[in-house]
Symmetry: D2
Subunit: 249 residues, 4 copies
């Protein structure tokens, strides 16, 4: 079997360099294009790229993905800042190119497992809260991953017919009880020295179960990128999150 | 549907009192016998007990279960101290009473989920260690639950074809790297003030995933007992752990 | 040396029973009065109580303490609900009885040490946040101990000339960043199964330092009560918190 | 006041580059020599270095320090691998150069505070254990910092007249209860994804107090190096650890 031909858009950034190194270190993938900021997208088609890894920033990502979809190049997208509107635009492009696959979103194995395990445990506990912790240069609070985790938990609770969480708080300082995400309190801690951490705390009579994910280094995303690159070509359309590629069931 | 007729053996102990209270608080179970140390087992048959909850101690449990099996009374067993030999003896009795069911072992929802989630995550990570923490009056180290968790993880790693864990230790104080349970290091902390806690730490490139279970109070076992009592009658033979009753898949 | 004559007000409550047991278990203290709800305060003077332990509730505590101060009985007060106004009232009574001592406030060794260590570390780190976790029947959020800890930290930062904490958050859900206590974010988690827990997270370049206190059982307060009873008689006036009795310096 | 003239030995390594950058970023220090592997030590004297930062490896460090002491250059030493024998050799050199100061050992503010807080809390708790967690490429277990922490705790317990720790373990797998460092159990976890972490768990009746230090990045050492460089010149002789420079009392 011949190697998959991979192009990296944003190859000079910190994450880009990691992905380039990872692609070059395995036999079943071949790096045929590494685009920096000033490089033209046409290099992708000229080099015969089959799967592009997108690692630039929210301002540029849509143009890059439109080019890829139009040319039948599959994509694995690490750039964040997705809104429902943007996802729908991408879905529209993909509808016109029915054999092309795009993978967007959480690409760390640990992040995906955290969400999965949290959803799995959700119906068994009376209480649940999410505490995420990040470096103080982060602009959004809570993190997108924490909000997504809370929503998955809320959905699992609804499906299990769980009542609202017990909470006798009658006197609170504003903000003390966190942000309310569909009934799940989410707390965001910001401190120098932290990288990216998330804790889901489940509580039942006499016991708690805590699932914690610590991302200490962006290299934690590379195994997820490799898995995505290997699989995205056989899954047409838009895929959100690595989860469906992980054979978790 | 008529209520299940329940008997509690060891009803005067701390756990027994909790189970008695829990059985009495629900409509689909009826407490028809509550045996203390000096009570005779015949009270169980006389009262028409369908499911017995066994909460005494390792020295007495086998006699009690033999009586139950011989009389077709299903059992939910909270008493610990099980060896492979004892389990085989129990299996022998059950073979002669093919409609009787016995549930033995971890009966806390949190403990069961911890094992389940740990097994689930095991194949995705290069490294894994278990740290369990208990009060200093505990006689065994590591705890039975920690050993069982480590074995489930080891099994999942073998099935996934995982290599041995990386460990460059060349100079170690005796004991520093914990006990080796099928290739999974297990550490046992004992300190006043602790109750029963277990942490499974998975590590991959740039990230860790930690699953932690804290049992703060023995009442955490009562939901598991109730679930066991409701289900054991329809599952003949020996069942180890609450897991198969939890519809986790 | 003769034993200190101790009276317990609120001896029939859960905390009261623990204190009674603890006082009776040591040689240098003698339990001479154990008042229940309907007992009259005069029993204290009649029994020659030197130190009273007050364990009732906010509605009753002020009357009890006024009686004690008026009769020169020293007090160790476990009842919560203190406001600045109430403390001032108590100070007024004590001014008129200059030999009497009263100890109010955090009486767990671990809680006191957490505050002390937190204050000690405060000036060395750029960032700090407090996360407290309690059972869901608690009425106030954050806990009084968490607010007090945050204030001590804020004071230590001001004394060290520390700038405001770094926080680039520009898009936040309401409440995500916690309650602001003098510039220190405080988050309150409420979940079934939790007892009383507090975590102080300090962050500096490339590292974090976390101080965590877990109270698993109210018996954790008894060593603090005993220490208070032994010392309060030699410290006239109002003392807030066990700290000054612990010879921490 | 003129800037302190600083030389870095091992300036091309990862830690060296961080220190070079840090020295250049402040006004009161001046980088006058940055030695790489092949550079001669004479560059230090020629450049008029007042304080040398040593960041090479155990095989080379002793020669470098002998040169420095002989030439009256103060030293801040980040290289590890110190034995009592080596420390004594260094003390001997310093005895012959009574105005020269050398700082060796833990140079992270967080690591120093962890030890300090642990020693401070030690006498208040019946139980204490240390759990350190590192990446799996580490050769020694437990870490030097964990052993040093355990010794400080053991010393504080002895001074306070604390009895041996309670431990009812009668049946243990080899290694489960950790390494024994003067009566304090120390456990070493090794997993991919971890960096350098240490947890000290104190336990008393009904409560635990945990002090945890997470070093996520070697840049955490630079504030300690800067503090050491500024102070070492006024503290002749050998100083172990940053602690005495931190004005902690």
């Amino acid at each position: 079997m011949s190697a998959i031909r991979v192009g990296v858009i944003g190859a000079a950034g910190r994450m880009g360099r990691e992905v380039v190194k990872a692609v070059e270190s395995v036999d079943d993938l071949e790096l045929v294009a590494a685009l920096r900021r000033t490089d033209r997208l046409e290099s992708l088609t000229r080099a015969g790229v089959q799967v592009a890894v997108e690692l630039t920033h929210p301002d540029a990502v849509m143009d890059h993905l439109e080019f890829c979809v139009r040319n039948g190049i599959h994509g694995v997208v690490g750039t964040t800042g997705w809104t429902d509107e943007r996802l729908n635009t991408l879905r529209g492009w993909l509808a016109a190119s029915p054999r092309t696959g795009m993978l967007v979103g959480p690409l760390s194995v640990g992040a995906v497992l955290t969400m999965r395990l949290a959803r799995y445990a959700a119906r068994w506990f009376e209480s649940v809260e999410v505490v995420e912790m990040h470096h103080p240069d982060k602009a959004d609070a809570p993190s997108g991953a924490a909000v997504r985790t809370a929503r998955l938990i809320a959905e699992a609770r609804r499906e299990a017919g769980r009542a609202a969480q017990p909470d006798a708080t009658t006197a609170a300082l504003a903000g003390a009880r966190g942000a309310d995400v569909e009934g799940v309190p989410v707390h965001a801690v910001r401190a120098r020295g932290l990288v990216a951490h998330q804790e889901v705390i489940f509580g039942g009579t006499g016991e708690t179960l805590t699932i914690r994910h610590d991302s200490m280094d962006r290299v934690c995303f590379t195994p997820g990128f490799l898995l995505g690159v290997r699989r995205v070509g056989s899954v047409p359309g838009l895929t959100l999150g690595l989860e469906s590629f992980m054979d978790l069931d």
